[in-house]
C-alpha cells in the first residue's frame, strides 16, 4: 500500500511540471508589452526597455520558465505587477476563504446527493425517484452564477434572510455554498443512482436478500460499498468544476477568495498573479485526484491487494 501511495505521489511531480509549463506557455502568448502595461502608455521607451530587461522578459520562454520553476520550488511565484507584493502571499492570504467555500460546497453536495441517489435507486420509477431525477437534471443544467443571482433575489433582497455578499459569519456562507454545491450535488446524485442500480441487480445482492438479510444492511453494507468507486471518481472530478465554479461564485457574491483575485488580475493584465492563481488551483486539483486514487485502494480491497 505504501508503494502505491509513493508511486502516486511521484506521479504528481511530472503533472505539476507539465501544468506549470502549459500555463506559463499560454500566458507567454499574451500580446502586448508587459513593461508598458506596468509603466503606463506614456512611459518613455528607455524605461520600458530597462524594465523588460530587469524582469527578464527579453529572454526566451524556456529560460523564463526555468527561472520561474526555480522560484516555484522556493515558494516564489513572482511579484504582482499591480500591487508589487509577492503573488504567493497574495494568493495564500485569500486561499483559506476559497478553501472554506469549496469544502462546504462539496460537503453540502455529498451529504445530500448520496442519500438521494440511494433512495432513487432503491425506489426506481417511484414518485420520489422521478422528482429527484428532475431536480438532478435541472441542477446539471443550471449555471451556478445564475442560480446565485436567483438566490440573492429570493433570500437577500426579498426575504432578507442572508447577506448577498461578504464572507463574515455563517450566514454569508449559506448562499455561496448552495450556489457552488448544487451542480456537484446533481452530478453525484445521478452517478450514485446509476451505480447503485447496477450493483443492486447483482447476484450477490439477490443472494443476501434470499438469505433474509435486512434490506437496510443489504443496501448500506453490501451494495453501497461496491457502488462507491464511480461515486468517489465523480466526487474527485467534480472538485475540478468546483474550483472553476468557485471563480464564478466568488464573482457573484463578492467573496474575497482566490477566484475574485484571479478575475481582478486578468482585468489588470497582472500576468504573474494569473499564473500563480491557475497553478495553485491546478496543484490543488491534482492533489485531490491523488487523494481519490488513494481512497480507491481503501474502498476496493482488489486495488489494495495489487500493491501488497
Amino acid at each position: 500500500m505504501h508503494k502505491y501511495v509513493i508511486k502516486r505521489l511521484l506521479m504528481l511531480i511530472p503533472v505539476v511540471i507539465g501544468v506549470s509549463f502549459l500555463v506559463f506557455f499560454i500566458m507567454s502568448l499574451s500580446p502586448g508589452d508587459t513593461a508598458r502595461t506596468i509603466l503606463g502608455e506614456n512611459a518613455p521607451m528607455e524605461a520600458v526597455e530597462a524594465l523588460n530587461e530587469e524582469l527578464g522578459l527579453n529572454d526566451p520562454v524556456l529560460i523564463r520558465y526555468a527561472r520561474y520553476m526555480v522560484g516555484l520550488l522556493h515558494g516564489d511565484l513572482g511579484d504582482s505587477y499591480k500591487s508589487g507584493r509577492p503573488v504567493f502571499n497574495e494568493v495564500m492570504s485569500r486561499f483559506p476563504d476559497t478553501l472554506k467555500l469549496a469544502f462546504w460546497g462539496m460537503l453540502f453536495a455529498i451529504v445530500l446527493s448520496i442519500p438521494i441517489g440511494i433512495i432513487s435507486a432503491t425506489k426506481q420509477y417511484s414518485l420520489t425517484d422521478s422528482i429527484s431525477m428532475v431536480f438532478a437534471l435541472l441542477g446539471v443544467a443550471t449555471p451556478n452564477f445564475w442560480l446565485g443571482l436567483m438566490l440573492i433575489i429570493a433570500f437577500s433582497l426579498h426575504l432578507r434572510w442572508f447577506p448577498s455578499g461578504g464572507s463574515e459569519g455563517w450566514k454569508a456562507l449559506v448562499l455561496p455554498v448552495i450556489t457552488l454545491g448544487t451542480g456537484c450535488m446533481a452530478n453525484i446524485t445521478r452517478t450514485t443512482r446509476s451505480s447503485m442500480l447496477e450493483v443492486i441487480r447483482q447476484d450477490y445482492i439477490r443472494t443476501a436478500k434470499a438469505k433474509g438479510v435486512n434490506s437496510k444492511t443489504v443496501i448500506y453494507r453490501h451494495a453501497l460499498k461496491n457502488a462507491l468507486i464511480p461515486v468517489v471518481t465523480i466526487i474527485g472530478l467534480q472538485f475540478g468544476s468546483l474550483l472553476g465554479g468557485a471563480v464564478l461564485t466568488e464573482a457573484v457574491f463578492s467573496w474575497p477568495g482566490v477566484g475574485t483575485y484571479l478575475i481582478n488580475s486578468i482585468k489588470a493584465k497582472d500576468t504573474p498573479a494569473v499564473l500563480g492563481c491557475v497553478i495553485i488551483f491546478s496543484i490543488c486539483f491534482s492533489i485531490v485526484n491523488l487523494c481519490v486514487d488513494i481512497l480507491y485502494a481503501y474502498i476496493d480491497p482488489r486495488i489494495k491487494s495489487k500493491y501488497k
Binding site: V15, L22, L29, A141, P143, M150
Partner: protein, 289 residues
C-alpha cells in the same frame, strides 16, 4: 454492397426508433430544433440593428408586456430579441468549439489508441497535463492570454475540451483496432491513416456522437461563464452570459433582466443533456439495462 447499405440503414433506423421511444430525448430534440430554427430565422423574428443593438432610453427597464414579451434592458433593448439573436452566438460557439475539440482531440486519441506504445504514452501524458487544469480555468487562462473576442473564446473552449475527446476516442479505437475488418484492410495494403480514418473511426462513432452532444452543452455553459466575468463575447453583441452580467445591477428592480437569459441557458443545456442521454441509451442499449 446493396446489402451492406441496407444493413447500415436498418441500423440507423433501429437507433432512431430507440431514440423515438425515449420521451425525454424527444423533448430535448424538439427544444433543440426550435432553438436552431430561432437561430436561423433570428433576423426574421427581430431585426438586429433596430431591436437588438439600438438603444431606446425611453423604453428602458420595462417589464414583460405584449410589445416586449420578456421586457427591455437598461438601454431599452428588447430582451426577447436579444435572447433569440443570442442563440446564434451560443450555438455557433458550441458547434465550432466542439468541432475543434473533436478534430484535435479525436485525431490525437485515434493515433494514441492505434499506434499504442510510446506514441500513446506521449500523447496521453500531455492530455493528462491538460486534464489537470480544470477546464473553465484553462479556458479563462487562454482567453486572458489571447484577448477577449469570439474566435479566442471558441478556441479556448475548444482546446479545454480536447482531452476528453482524446480519451474517449482512444478507448473506442483500442476496442476496435484488433477486429477482423481492420486486419483485412491492412492485408490489402491500406495505409495506417486510411485504416484509422476510413475503417476504425466510422466504427467508433457512438461514443463520439454522445460526447459531442454533451460537450456542446458544456461549451455553451463555458461561453456564458466567460461572458459573465467579462472575458467572453463583448457588448453590445447579444450573449446570454453577458446579458446576465449586465442585469446584475438591476436585481432589485428588474428581475426580468436576469431571469430570461438564465432560463434560456437552462433550457438549452437541459435539452442537450436530455438528447445526449437519450442518444447514449439508443446507441448502446446495454447501458440502459
Amino acid at each position: 454492397m446493396k446489402n451492406e447499405r441496407n444493413k447500415k440503414r436498418s441500423m440507423a433506423a433501429e437507433i432512431w426508433q430507440r431514440l423515438c421511444r425515449n420521451k425525454m430525448a424527444m423533448l430535448g430534440l424538439a427544444i433543440l430544433v426550435l432553438l436552431i430554427l430561432a437561430a436561423i430565422f433570428a433576423d426574421v423574428i427581430a431585426d438586429y440593428d433596430t431591436k437588438v443593438v439600438a438603444q431606446n432610453i425611453s423604453e428602458r427597464l420595462k417589464g414583460p408586456s405584449a410589445a416586449h414579451w420578456f421586457g427591455t434592458d437598461e438601454f431599452g433593448r428588447d430582451i426577447f430579441a436579444r435572447i433569440v439573436h443570442g442563440s446564434r452566438v451560443s450555438l455557433v460557439v458550441g458547434l465550432v468549439s466542439v468541432s475543434v475539440s473533436m478534430i484535435v482531440g479525436g485525431s490525437l486519441g485515434a493515433f494514441a489508441g492505434f499506434y499504442g506504445g510510446r506514441v500513446d504514452n506521449v500523447i496521453m501524458r500531455v492530455m493528462d497535463v491538460f486534464l489537470a487544469v480544470p477546464s473553465i480555468l484553462l479556458a479563462i487562462t487562454i482567453v486572458a492570454a489571447l484577448g477577449t473576442n469570439l474566435i479566442n473564446v471558441m478556441l479556448a473552449i475548444g482546446i479545454s475540451g480536447t482531452p476528453s475527446f482524446a480519451r474517449i476516442v482512444r478507448a473506442a479505437v483500442m476496442g476496435v483496432k484488433d477486429q477482423e475488418f481492420v486486419e483485412s484492410s491492412r492485408a490489402i495494403g491500406a495505409s495506417s491513416i486510411t485504416i484509422i480514418f476510413r475503417e476504425i473511426l466510422p466504427n467508433c462513432m457512438a461514443p463520439i456522437i454522445v460526447q459531442a452532444t454533451l460537450s456542446v452543452a458544456s461549451a455553451i455553459l463555458s461561453t456564458a461563464s466567460l461572458s459573465f466575468i467579462g472575458l467572453g463575447v463583448q457588448p453590445p453583441a447579444p450573449e446570454w452570459g453577458a446579458m446576465l452580467s449586465s442585469g446584475r445591477n438591476y436585481l432589485r428592480d428588474a428581475l426580468h433582466l436576469t431571469l430570461f437569459p438564465g432560463l434560456a441557458i437552462v433550457v438549452t443545456i437541459l435539452a442537450l443533456n436530455l438528447l445526449g442521454d437519450g442518444l447514449r441509451d439508443a446507441l448502446d442499449p446495454r447501458l440502459k439495462q
